[in-house]
Amino acid sequence: MSNKIAVQVDDLTVAYNYKPVLWDIDLEIPEGVLMAIVGPNGAGKSTLIKSILGILKPIAGSVSIYGKSYNKQRSLVAYVPQKGSVDWDFPTTALDVVMMGTYGSLGWIKRPRQKQKKAALEALEKVGMLPFKNRQISQLSGGQQQRIFLARALVQDASIYFMDEPFQGVDATTEIAIINILKELRKAGKTVIVVHHDLQTVPEYFDWVTFLNVKKIATGPVKDIFNDDNLTKTYGINYKVSIQE
């Protein structure tokens, strides 16, 4: 972890139909952390990511990626949406979906060529999905679909990775495979931000955590702030987890 700030969020407020789902969020994410965003359903976790990525327009506040606006820093950022956000019956193959990760660097009109295909194949290899490259995406299991999404983000070769619940509906093997890749990314100096549901695995998987429930409750190193006090503040009930050291 360096002293650089990878993502800075200032006074961010986002509303759906005039009902705020994120209220006045200030957040600084240091470069090189593997961070979980935790909070109850409806806490605005996905909304936070989508607002940082410019998919949703905030009603107030600003976001910067390495000091500049997202639009200028797009090539530094990769995004893994929730698996359920797309139609897996779409007529395309695993390889083609991974290739979509290269579209950002290509820009409008230009088409992917050999170079992009090679990068996509390498990414498929990394997530152990190379044998399935020509498989139609509906013929893949939930865990395999999630790996394809991860490969699509890897192919972007970004500095900051945003992932929306990558462990949702995947089997234990895939979960371990994914977390190992995320840890590798961190080792390579990348910043990884993950919307996460399973509180039990937070200390094991992540080194940084943000508690969110419409407002930001706390953010910092897992070892300092992942405690019953913050969990109770976030989830509203008297929350006890045993944290294994």
Partner: protein, 386 residues
């Protein structure tokens, strides 16, 4: 064939291609009903355009009418965004109103000119060859051929240039937005092309049947392929096939060409729906039957593996032990024998080494939840082959 017949078929085919391209993306975006809305609500645009230009083939009329199509989409989305009604309700609210405004305008103002509601609804393809485009005294062909040809070239140009963007934003809007390909621009681009194509095609096939040419070929192709480019290609093939066969069907019946083309589209879809190799109804039923037999086979093999005692493995007693009817036991027994999974000695059934290996592997995959590998395993063991 007379030259008029060739021209009619050519126009119908070009309309089919021009419709199949945006139609494929509308189907994949689950927006088929939007094409219905556009095709109706362009009517007031056509009427106003006609008042201004006095020419049904004027480019200005096409642009004005297409604009009405885009306005329809904007209105539908606006009403939907209020959260008070759902999308299908919003569509059902917007287009009948716009359509009926068009109907009233025709009734009040256009009765004495060449613009009648029948032509707008089902088109007059048979008359298309009579309206010629004359450039400095030279007859260069029917006007509607040039119009739809121009629209088709425009559509193909956009498709080739923005294929990647269309595919991305159709599959994953969120990723498209985060990569800087504005889904809104692509969405309204597609809506504009759909509107322009609808206006260009309404002359030939009518404002209502154009929906069939947009949706049916794409829906049919969707059942046959898992590749977007092939889906586009197949949509075009189905569209053109229906256009030409529909023309000759109408010729034979002496009936409406647009009606016959649409009937052909329906027949084609029905055939594919029944007989498509993977997604067709018959294939699905056959596969389900196969799967039932496979599960029975596995259950049977597992039973053999679990029981050493001969009492449990006697052919005559298997029915009682696994509680199956005679026919089913017979099918399963035959399948196992054919695949060399079992041997029968003195009416006692035993697993072969191959059968044993198959059972062990299958159980392994089921326990570890690796369903995909069972599919490969079936190939390894030549189940259901020869």
């Amino acid at each position: 064939m007379s030259s008029a017949q060739i021209e009619i078929q050519l126009i119908a085919s070009l309309v089919a291609i021009a419709c199949a391209i945006p139609g494929t993306f509308l189907v994949l975006r689950k927006m088929a009903m939007i094409s219905d809305a556009i095709s109706h609500s362009i009517l007031p645009g056509i009427v106003v355009g006609f008042f201004i230009t006095q020419d049904l083939n004027s480019p200005l009329l096409i642009l004005l009418a297409a604009l009405t199509g885009v306005i329809t989409v904007v209105l539908v989305e606006y009403i939907q965004k209020t959260g008070l009604v759902k999308e299908d309700t919003a569509i059902g609210l917007v287009f009948p109103v716009l359509f009926s405004i068009g109907v009233l305008m025709i009734a009040k103002k256009a009765n004495d000119v060449h613009l009648d509601i029948d032509a707008v609804l089902v088109g007059e393809l048979a008359l298309a060859p009579f309206d010629r485009l004359i450039i400095s005294g030279v007859d260069v062909g029917p006007k509607s051929l040039w119009i739809i040809g121009g629209i088709l070239l425009f559509t193909i140009g956009l498709l080739v240039a923005f294929f990647k963007e269309l595919k991305l934003s159709t599959f994953d809007k969120g990723l498209a937005a985060s990569l800087g390909f504005s889904p809104a621009i692509i969405h309204y681009g597609l809506m504009s092309v759909s509107s322009i194509t609808t206006v260009g095609a309404f002359d030939a096939v009518g404002a209502i049947l154009v929906v069939a040419l947009m949706i049916a070929p794409a829906a049919t192709a969707y059942l046959l392929t898992t590749d977007l480019k092939k889906m586009l290609g197949l949509s075009i093939v189905f569209g053109v096939f229906s256009a030409i066969s529909g023309y000759w069907f109408a010729h034979w019946l002496d009936a409406s060409i647009a009606g016959s083309i649409t009937t052909m589209l329906g027949v084609l879809f029905l055939l594919v729906y029944l007989f498509a190799p993977n997604k067709g109804v018959i294939a699905v039923l056959y596969r389900e039957k196969q799967q039932r037999t496979e599960v029975s086979l596995l259950t049977f093999l597992l039973h053999l593996k679990n029981h050493d005692e001969e009492r449990e493995r006697h052919v005559n007693h298997l029915n009682e032990h696994i509680n199956w009817q005679k026919v089913r036991s017979k099918t399963v027994l035959e399948l196992a024998l054919k695949n060399n999974m079992i041997v029968i000695n003195n009416n006692i059934v035993s697993l072969t080494s191959k059968g044993d290996e198959f059972t062990t592997q299958a159980i392994d995959y089921i326990i570890t939840n690796e369903d995909a590998q069972i599919e490969d395993m079936k190939d390894d063991f030549f189940l259901f082959r020869g």
